[in-house]
Structures are given as structure tokens and as C-alpha cells.
């Protein structure tokens, strides 16, 4: 109960802070919207008349905005500047403030990104059913958590290297290639298609979009959920190990 209250408070504190640089937030939202929209244009041209592809990329845009993670800016920069020291003094898990800032960012991405999604849906033949959306809700929540834990883990590399932004950037590139933005996983050539289905990147982005677009059903959808949960357990365990090993290296430079 206390943890939820602290997370709620962290969201409020972070989102207030983020609101002060709202014009910059809008540029970030535009940047995040570019790749799904590019995918929409390219694949709509490649597969003209395909409602599924249009629906997939419009939903992917929404999922992208709902799962963005900037822990290389929050956590890594906190490690570099030494401001992580302040978080280490508080009687709460350090991750809570970063969860708060992550959700705060996502809320603003939804607020500023919703017009892009609505516009894209209006100009394309997007068709989403209520049932598809209901099924996609848990998938989006799991995808958002998965992407946060993944980015958080990569951002912890700041405890070892001063190139954590490059490490997270590499992770983002892999998500772009194998997560379903460059192309829906089903359209990738083999063996990338099979690889994409077993790695954690598709569950972070493409899976919820395919669910909402009605491309996953029945046992396939159940297996997809299981993959999300399985990868989440693995990445959380990895994050905990890396945090414990890395914290001893924190030297609080500059704080």
C-alpha cells in the first residue's frame, strides 16, 4: 500500500517537473512518432489496401507512446552527475522515483501524442474492435513494464561506463529492428522472424499492437502473454543482480 502511495507521489512529482519543459516534451513526442508513421507510410505503399497493416502501425504508434522509456536520461544522468546520492538517502527503493518519472513521461506522451494517433487513424482505414482493445490492455501494461525494466537495466551500465547513452541507444535500435517497428514481425524474412518471436523485443512493442489489431488470437495470444511474463521475470532478475553489483561502484562524483 505504501509502495503504491509512493509511486503515485513520484508520478505526481515527476509529471509536474516535466510539465515545466513541455515545449521540449512535444519535440520528444514528435520524435517518438516518426518511426511508426514511417512504417505506416512505407508498408501501406508496399501492401496497398491492407487494412491490417494500417491498423497495426496506428496502434503501434499508440503503443510506442505508451511504452517510451528514458532511463538513460533519468537514471544514467543521475549516476553521472551524482544526484543519485539524494535518492540513495531516502527510505524507499531507489527505483520508485524512476518508475514515477517513467510513467510521468508516458502520461505526457499520451496527452501530446493523442492528436497524432487520432489523425493517423482518421486518414487511414484503421479498424480496431473493442474486444481487440480489451485483450491488448494487459499486453500494453506488460510491454510498458518490460521496456522500462530493459531500459533501466541498460541505463545501469552508467555504473561501469560513461557511454550508457550509447548502450541504451543500441537497445533502442534492436527494439526498432526486431520489435516490430521496422516491419511487423510476421513480414520479416527467416530466420529473423523466428528470432524476433523468441527475443524480448517483440513483446515490448509489436505484440500489443498485433493484439489490438486482431492479429493474435487464442493459443497464440496466450503464448504471447506467457512470453511477456517470462521475459519480465528474467529481466527483473537481471536488473536486480546488476543493481546490486553496480551500486558498489557508485562513486557519487560531483554530488
Amino acid at each position: 500500500m505504501r509502495t503504491f502511495a509512493l509511486v503515485r507521489l513520484a508520478i505526481w512529482r515527476s509529471s509536474l517537473e516535466q510539465w515545466t519543459w513541455r515545449s521540449f516534451l512535444i519535440t520528444i513526442v514528435v520524435g517518438q512518432a516518426v518511426t511508426p508513421l514511417l512504417g505506416l507510410f512505407v508498408w501501406s505503399a508496399a501492401l496497398p489496401g491492407s487494412d491490417t497493416v494500417a491498423t497495426y502501425f496506428v496502434v503501434l504508434l499508440a503503443v510506442q507512446l505508451l511504452t517510451v522509456s528514458f532511463e538513460h536520461h533519468t537514471l544514467s544522468n543521475g549516476i553521472y552527475s551524482g544526484t543519485l546520492s539524494g535518492a540513495l538517502l531516502l527510505p524507499q527503493p531507489v527505483v520508485i522515483d524512476f518508475i514515477g518519472s517513467n510513467i510521468g513521461f508516458r502520461l505526457w506522451h499520451v496527452v501530446f501524442g493523442l492528436p497524432f494517433v487520432a489523425l493517423a487513424a482518421a486518414v487511414t482505414s484503421t479498424h480496431v474492435t473493442a474486444a481487440g482493445l480489451r485483450l491488448a490492455v494487459p499486453a500494453v501494461l506488460l510491454a510498458g513494464t518490460l521496456r522500462f525494466v530493459f531500459t533501466y537495466t541498460l541505463a545501469l551500465s552508467a555504473l561501469w561506463t560513461d557511454r550508457a547513452h550509447a548502450v541504451v541507444g543500441l537497445g533502442e535500435t534492436v527494439i526498432f529492428l526486431l520489435g516490430g517497428t521496422a516491419a511487423p514481425i510476421g513480414l520479416l524474412p527467416q530466420p529473423l522472424r523466428s528470432l524476433g518471436h523468441v527475443l524480448p523485443f517483440w513483446p515490448m512493442l509489436g505484440l500489443p499492437a498485433e493484439t489490438a489489431a486482431g492479429m493474435l488470437r487464442g493459443s497464440t495470444l496466450a503464448a504471447a502473454y506467457a512470453a511477456q511474463i517470462g521475459w519480465l521475470a528474467v529481466l527483473i532478475a537481471l536488473a536486480v543482480v546488476i543493481w546490486r553489483r553496480g551500486l558498489g561502484r557508485f562513486t557519487a562524483v560531483g554530488a
Binding site: 505504501r2 502511495a5 509512493l6 507521489l9 512529482r13 515527476s14 509536474l16 517537473e17 510539465w19 515545466t20 544526484t83 546520492s85 539524494g86 535518492a87 540513495l88 538517502l89 531516502l90 527510505p91 524507499q92 551500486l247 558498489g248 557508485f250 562513486t251 557519487a252 554530488a255
Partner: protein, 341 residues
């Protein structure tokens, strides 16, 4: 160089609130020589240097004691405080605070300590008001509502925070941020308070207010306070004991007057002549440290002060005579210079 010694303050009895034994912290930092070639070479072969920030430091602090932790820049003061507050993991030795290993960051430990840094008195979003931050701390430290209200009211009164409560942190001046930061750090009534240069950059009035409140807080709550400061007047006003650290090693543990006596074997006698026309051979009484048209200041060995004073009063027409210790700042400065020589 001065060797480590301990004097002036009785050894703590009973369980120590802060217990440090053989503490060490070594940083591994990349180094390279200047120039393009060295820069390229460092891409494939990085060289590191080990810097000992703290070496084999041991001390105990009992509950309720206010201890000054002094030393030149880079001596290891802040590193030690960061270890004791759980921010840094020591590379060797043992530190226990309130019976906890600080680096384990146990929730019960963190709820009983506070670290206030003058360079950054408040962390977190600056959009929030001071009162928002109080409310946040109430939840964070699980402070009972009645106790919270009483604590906020008391701190608001003592630190004159009334006009600041509704203001955003980013709109506060440095002095206001420091007062607010101190109040926020104290709202949960920490049993151990680490103060790292708490009055740096403050004007005299704000600095005095902060010092007065720290002294009151320590006296009324029996809290243990560890203070680093380059202002010797602050250390003198607050601390019954000082730990002097230099190049990561503890050089002195004891009272400040005893340190001053040890480092400065002389006292200053300032004499104001009653008859300005009279010619006095001052060198007969001591070393002339300063001379003006109507006064002279003599540096005299401590043991000779009674004899010299009596001689001056008997042989010279004196309108005023004062005996003082040399300014503490100059005593400590002398130690730093001797230590680094």
C-alpha cells in the same frame, strides 16, 4: 608532519552511535598523459590510478555528541560522510551507524538519519513547494499526522519558514533553500545528522540561524551530529570534539581548544600604551606580531604568558591589555600547510 593523536575529550562510554574501524575508500580513476597520441592509445589501453580518499580511519561517536569533521579540501571528509550515510560502499574496514551497516541501506536506518549538503540542500523536483516537500516526507518517513504538524510548526517558527511554505523550491534564494533544506531534513527527527558545509554561501544572519537551530536540535533531541565545515567559528560554536582528517587519514581526535594549544604553542598579548610618547623595547617581552601607533601585539609562549603579563603591567604604562589565542583559522591553516609540506 603531525602524527595522529587524541586528547581533550573523554573516550565515549557505552555503545557508540557511529562506530568506524579501519575504514578505507579507494577510487579507481582513469589517467592518461596529454596529447593526441595518448588519447588514441587510451581508447584501446586505458590506464588507471588508485586514489586513496580514506585510509584506515577509526573513531566512535556516542549519542548526543556534536562532532566537527575538519580538514582541507580533498581530505576525505565528504567521502567518509557518504560512507556513513550509505551512499558509498567502503573498499575496506567497517562502519556501523545506529547498529546498521550503512551501505545496506536498511529502511529503518535511512528513516533515522539525514544528510544535508550546503552545496545542494534540497534534491528532487524544484517545481514543488516547500509544503509539498514536507507532505512528501511525511509519507516517506511514515510520520504520524499530529507529530508531523507539530514538527512542521516548530521548524517553521525556528527557521522562519512561514513565508516560504507556499513557494516553489526553484524560486528560493540560496539562504532560503538552505533553511528549507535543513527543515526538510529534520522533519522526521533524525537520530543522526550529517551536515556537509551547511552554511556555505549563507549570509551572517542565515548562518547564525542555522547554527543556533542545529545546536538546539542536538541539545533537545540528543541527536548525534557530524559536521564538516571550513568555518572554524562554526565548528567552535557547535562542536565539543573535532576529528581532523588530512589526505584520508585521521590526524587528530579531541577538543578544539586542545588542538589549538597543540598546534599553536603561543598566545597573543595585545597592549595599548597609556603614554604613546614612551619608547618601549617590546622585543624584551616577546615577538612583535603587529604594531600600530597606539598598540602592539606580542606573540608569547603559553608558559611565559603570566610572567610577561606581570612584567608589562609593572614596567609599562598600559591603558589596556588582552590575552588571546591566535585565530583558529590561522592555526588550522598552519596545520594544513605543515601537513602538506
Amino acid at each position: 608532519m603531525m602524527s595522529s593523536y587524541r586528547t581533550g575529550v573523554p573516550a565515549p562510554s557505552g555503545p557508540a552511535t557511529v562506530d568506524v574501524a579501519g575504514l578505507a575508500m579507494t577510487y579507481r580513476v582513469p589517467v592518461r598523459t596529454a596529447g593526441l597520441r595518448a588519447a588514441f592509445r587510451s581508447l584501446v589501453h586505458r590506464e588507471y590510478k588508485h586514489l586513496a580518499a580514506v585510509s584506515d580511519v577509526s573513531f566512535q561517536i556516542p549519542a548526543g555528541q556534536v562532532v566537527g569533521f575538519i580538514g582541507p579540501n580533498g581530505a576525505g571528509k565528504t567521502t567518509t560522510m557518504k560512507i556513513l550515510s550509505g551512499i558509498l560502499h567502503p573498499t575496506a574496514g567497517r562502519a556501523r551507524v545506529l547498529g546498521f551497516d550503512p551501505h545496506r541501506r536498511h529502511r529503518d536506518f535511512l528513516k533515522q538519519i539525514a544528510l544535508v549538503r550546503g552545496s545542494s540542500p534540497i534534491s528532487g523536483p524544484t517545481e514543488l513547494t516547500v509544503m509539498d516537500n514536507f507532505a512528501y516526507r511525511r509519507l516517506l518517513y511514515e510520520i504520524n499526522e499530529d507529530r508531523f504538524r507539530a514538527n512542521v510548526a516548530e521548524l517553521t517558527g525556528i527557521l522562519d519558514l512561514g513565508p516560504l511554505l507556499g513557494r516553489q523550491l526553484r524560486a528560493l534564494s540560496l539562504g532560503e533553500r538552505m533553511r528549507a533544506g535543513l527543515a526538510l531534513a529534520l522533519v522526521h527527527r533524525p537520530r543522526v545528522l550529517f551536515l556537509d558545509e551547511p552554511t556555505i554561501g549563507l549570509d551572517a544572519t542565515a548562518a547564525i540561524a542555522v547554527r543556533r537551530h542545529v545546536a538546539d536540535y542536538a541539545r533537545t533531541t540528543d541527536a548525534t551530529v557530524m559536521l564538516t565545515s571550513h568555518y572554524m567559528t562554526e565548528v567552535e560554536a557547535l562542536c565539543s570534539r573535532v576529528l581532523l582528517i588530512d589526505r584520508g587519514r585521521l590526524r587528530y581526535d579531541g577538543s578544539l581548544p586542545a588542538l589549538a594549544a597543540r598546534l599553536s604553542p603561543s598566545k597573543l598579548i595585545r597592549v595599548q600604551q597609556g603614554d604613546e610618547a614612551a619608547v618601549v623595547e617590546w622585543e624584551r617581552y616577546g615577538e612583535v606580531a603587529d604594531a600600530g601607533p597606539d598598540h602592539v601585539t606580542l606573540r608569547v609562549p603559553r608558559t611565559d604568558v603570566p610572567r610577561v603579563t606581570a612584567a608589562l603591567l609593572a614596567e609599562v604604562r598600559v591603558s589596556d591589555l588582552t590575552v588571546t589565542d591566535p585565530p583558529l583559522e590561522s592555526v588550522i591553516d598552519r596545520f594544513y600547510r605543515v601537513a602538506s609540506a
